[in-house]
Amino acid sequence: MDSVVHSSLPLWACLASLLAAPAIVLFRRELFLREATTFVAAFVKFGLVLAMLPIITSGKVIEFTLVEGFGGVVAPILFRVDGLGMLFALVASSLWIVTSLYAIGYMRGLHEHSQTRFFAFFAISLSATLGVAFAGNLLTLYLFYEMLSLATWPLVTHHQDKEARTGGRTYLTYLLGTSIGFALPALIFTWIKSGGDLSFAGDAILASADLGPAQGLILLLAFCFGFSKAGMMPFHSWLPGAMVAPTPVSALLHAVAVVKVGVFCVIRVFTAVFGVDLLAKLGVATVISWIAAFTVIVSSLIAMSQDNLKRRLAFSTIGQLSYIVLGVSLLSAHAVQGSMMHIAMHAFGKITLFFCAGAIFVATGKKYVSQLSGLGKTMPFTMGAFAIGAMSVTGVPPTGGLLSKFYLVWGAADAQQFALLAVYLVSSVLNGVYFFPVVYRAFFKPAPEGEAAVEGIREAPLACVLPLSITAVGSVLLFFFPGLLLELTKLMTGAQ
């Protein structure tokens, strides 16, 4: 059906940042060169992804086999770029550029140690993310998924203190534990059931396998919990734990790359491993829907009670991720489309929020929501961007979040799941409840008495404020120009 273009572009897009890592280490003493390397790699990567875009939008897919497989053995590394992968790659690689700028401002602003290691592992993580986006079979997907878990561990534990150690342990325990304990057996079971085919191309892998509902349910659960980066309860606690990381890490990795890799994998499982038809026949997706719905509501409630701003954002992320899982588990075309779009919309919104949290910390050292009173006056840009980010995540016009939520709700209506539709609506209200008090406090509450009244504007360094402004503007622009996203997601849902 879709014509295939063979090209090594996906490989190079992946390698761009991986090759940058040694260069970053090499230039460890030339700070300018080191930072320049990051930027060059980021732009090259973005450029390579963009170069593939016209091919994808014209309805073709790009394939590239790095290592061949033999009889019954799956090719270990196979790249395949389709609409969904393209969408995710675009989001991740464009935000890397912004985050690099932000990270430089943040890390220098706080005089963090071991910045070389930080930037090197950051680059490797990005490679892994694009690897997941372009993975052409389950094995490649799993390979880069694990690589991402491991490459982000030094970033999460960057501070190397006790808190970082605990957070890092939780992080790896959950991510590795579930991926080895659930995803790997599920993968091998799929391999057996499918008769040696794990490729995402063509029909869904298990489309023609004989699979009972019980087996199907266990397999689906194993996949969804196995890819625990998607943060479905009860395997979500790594995400708040990982908030000990420096903010740029939280921003790009734990609002965009890592968590989105999780939901990306879940979407792949639904669409390319099982296939919507098989799941509809088995009728097991509802179980996932309800787990996701539960996660959405509960995490929103928890988020309300968090005083630490980053933790509040983390729980909000957990909820938003389950939006996506819930959407795809509804199995209706619009909901799946909404899920895919939400990857991008939420990424822009949430990264803005994290950037703001970091900028506040850099400028004032404040971490808690209760300390933010009156901050809107001294940091108008930051808090303004925060408001836009909050609007986008909640789904208030004119921000991109509205569009994806609209599709999700539409999909829920299509699927005749009105209880789940209500979940979307209720949780959107809850999102508002835990975000807007922050905005309100910043802009309309006077600064506490004890603090010396700061006159005028005292923003974080430009390198911090510029990126968050860009992503905030991006969130708004996505509302007005969602054409590309719609096109890419239509490719996927249309292709099914």
């Binding site: 019954g72 053995v73 799993y142 203190d161 970082a164």
Partner: protein
């Protein structure tokens, strides 16, 4: 020339050993070049043989020209190289060569006066291991097992640590019991069949009248128990941890990857080439029992590893667990289980080598062998740490390392045969390995115990960071130790990424066999 390769591969280290004895005693510096060139010749032969075998099938070599045209099979010593042992030959020679490079100067420091003796034993061990691999004669196998065992007892005992000597003694006692059981088993086989050639025995046993005899049954049990002792299969592992952790570092790098793996090969060879897969799996019907034993071995090895405070001891217990992987895989009685077991022999050899070299470098530079003394290593030795991490990831089974793919195939075998206990044991052991290695990585990465110095952690670390960055490679060991480590790490990854051709060769080796052949899997 090329038809003599099977002999040359054995003769090169044998003559190397003799030459070392003759020339090396006067001047110790002559030993190393002799060692390297002998092993390089073997390595070249191994590669050439692998190419030949994968292109044109098994090679039969009759020592002294006593071939089947002149005399019947079983007369004259036969060496037989098929796809299975050609792969193993490459592994053995590669590991030996890398260890030889590692031993440069190191062996001299560890055995000051006895460097030539050490290198002679080193090469004799290689002769033994290569011989075990290529021989097609059940009794010769015993002799060569003893050649390799005797040299390894001496190698273990050569260290300066007196605990190593005691460990060597226990190793010797257990090893002799194992070899004797094997010999006894061969005796029973000979009673029943009147021949010692593997293929000839196999032919006779294919006759159901012989296959059902209790003598054959007893022979199989004796051989199996003997080989299990040699490979340290739980609960017969008692000799291994002390012997491998108190011996000189070069010795541990050579023994740990090879000895147990070659013993596993012997088991597989006995199962497939002497008794035959249909006899072992169908007439005997022991698969379930042995796989459960393997499950216990895997779990016990992992738990015992968890309890260790010394780095090398911990690695040794992991070997016990890994042996469980391979025995279990081989006894799953299906195609993918056997493929996984054989692939794991290759993968595990390099993984173990990688970890042992790294551990030895760590231990030498920290002058400590406890895990909690390895603080701050990542800053001081980034390259060695990288090698260690690669080995650790392979042990955990993270793609794309070789360790992942062996688990991949073993798990498939386990699921297909419905041995869920084995599947769960593999996964649990992966998780335990993750805990084990991240405990070490954490200590090595975090530098100090943060619980004690929480307040100052930040400043001091940044200070250390600058110091560390100023001399990035200043803390590394000497190149002769780090380079083999990095090569091994690269092999671990490449073997994983390019596992398909290797698996194809393994499948070629199993082709046409009942139960474990690819055709049996397709059914």
């Amino acid at each position: 020339m090329s038809e003599q390769l099977p002999a040359i591969i054995l003769l090169a280290p044998l003559f190397g050993a003799l030459l070392t004895g003759l020339a090396g005693n006067r001047d110790h510096r002559r030993c190393f070049p002799i060692l390297i060139s002998a092993l390089a010749v073997s390595f070249g032969c191994a590669i050439a043989l692998l190419v030949q075998v994968s292109q044109s099938g098994p090679i039969d070599y009759f020592v002294g020209g006593w071939n089947t045209e002149r005399v019947p099979l079983g007369v004259g010593i036969q060496l037989r190289i098929d796809a299975l042992n050609a792969l193993l030959l490459v592994v053995i020679t590669t590991v030996a060569l890398l260890t030889a490079v590692y031993s440069f100067r190191r062996a001299g420091e560890e055995n000051t006066e006895k460097t030539p003796q050490f290198y002679m034993l080193f090469q004799m061990l290689c002769v033994g291991l290569l011989g075990i691999t290529v021989t097609a004669d059940a009794f010769n196998l015993f002799v060569l097992v003893e050649v390799s065992s005797l040299t390894s007892y001496a190698l273990v005992a050569m260290g300066s640590k007196s605990r190593g000597t005691v460990a060597a003694f226990n190793y010797l006692i257990m090893g002799t019991v194992g070899a004797s059981f094997y010999l006894l088993g061969v005796g029973y086989l000979y009673m029943q069949t009147g021949t010692l050639n593997m293929a000839a025995i196999h032919e006779i046993l294919a006759d159901p009248a012989f296959g059902k005899s209790s003598t054959v049954f007893v022979a199989f049990i004796l051989i199996l128990v003997g080989v299990w002792i040699k490979m340290a299969f739980f609960p017969l592992y008692g000799w291994l941890p002390n012997a491998y952790s108190y011996c000189p570092s070069t010795t541990s790098c050579l023994l740990a990857p090879l000895m147990t793996k070659v013993s596993v090969y012997v088991m597989i060879r006995v199962m497939l080439s002497i008794f035959g897969a249909d006899w072992v799996f169908q007439s005997l019907g022991w698969s379930h029992t042995v796989v459960w034993l393997a499950v216990i071995a895997i779990l016990a090895g992992s738990v015992l590893a968890l309890a260790q405070v010394e780095l090398k001891k911990m690695l040794c217990y992991l070997i016990v667990a890994e042996v469980g992987y391979m025995v279990g895989g081989a006894w799953l009685a299906n195609h993918w289980g056997m493929v996984g077991a054989i692939y794991h022999i290759l993968a595990d050899a390099f993984m173990t080598l990688c970890l042992f070299i790294a551990a030895n470098i760590f231990i030498k530079h920290c002058r400590a062998d406890r895990i909690d003394q390895l603080e701050g290593l990542f800053k001081r030795m980034p390259l060695t740490s990288t090698g260690f991490v690669v080995g650790a990831l392979a042990m955990i089974g993270v793609p794309p390392t070789a360790g992942f793919f062996s688990k991949w195939y073993l798990l498939r075998g386990g699921i297909e045969s419905g041995q869920w206990g084995y599947v769960i044991a593999l996964l649990v052991s992966s998780l335990v390995n993750a805990v084990l290695f991240f405990r070490i990585i954490e200590i090595a990465y975090f530098g100090k115990n943060p619980a004690e110095s929480h307040d100052h952690a930040h400043d001091e670390d940044s200070h250390q960071g600058q110091a560390g960055e100023a001399t990035l490679l200043g803390g590394e060991g000497r190149p002769a130790t780090v380079i083999p480590l990095l090569i091994t790490a690269a092999i671990v990854i490449l073997l994983g990424v390019f596992n398909a051709p290797v698996v194809e060769i393994i499948q070629q080796a199993l082709e046409g066999m009942p139960v474990v052949g690819a055709a049996a899997a397709a059914r």
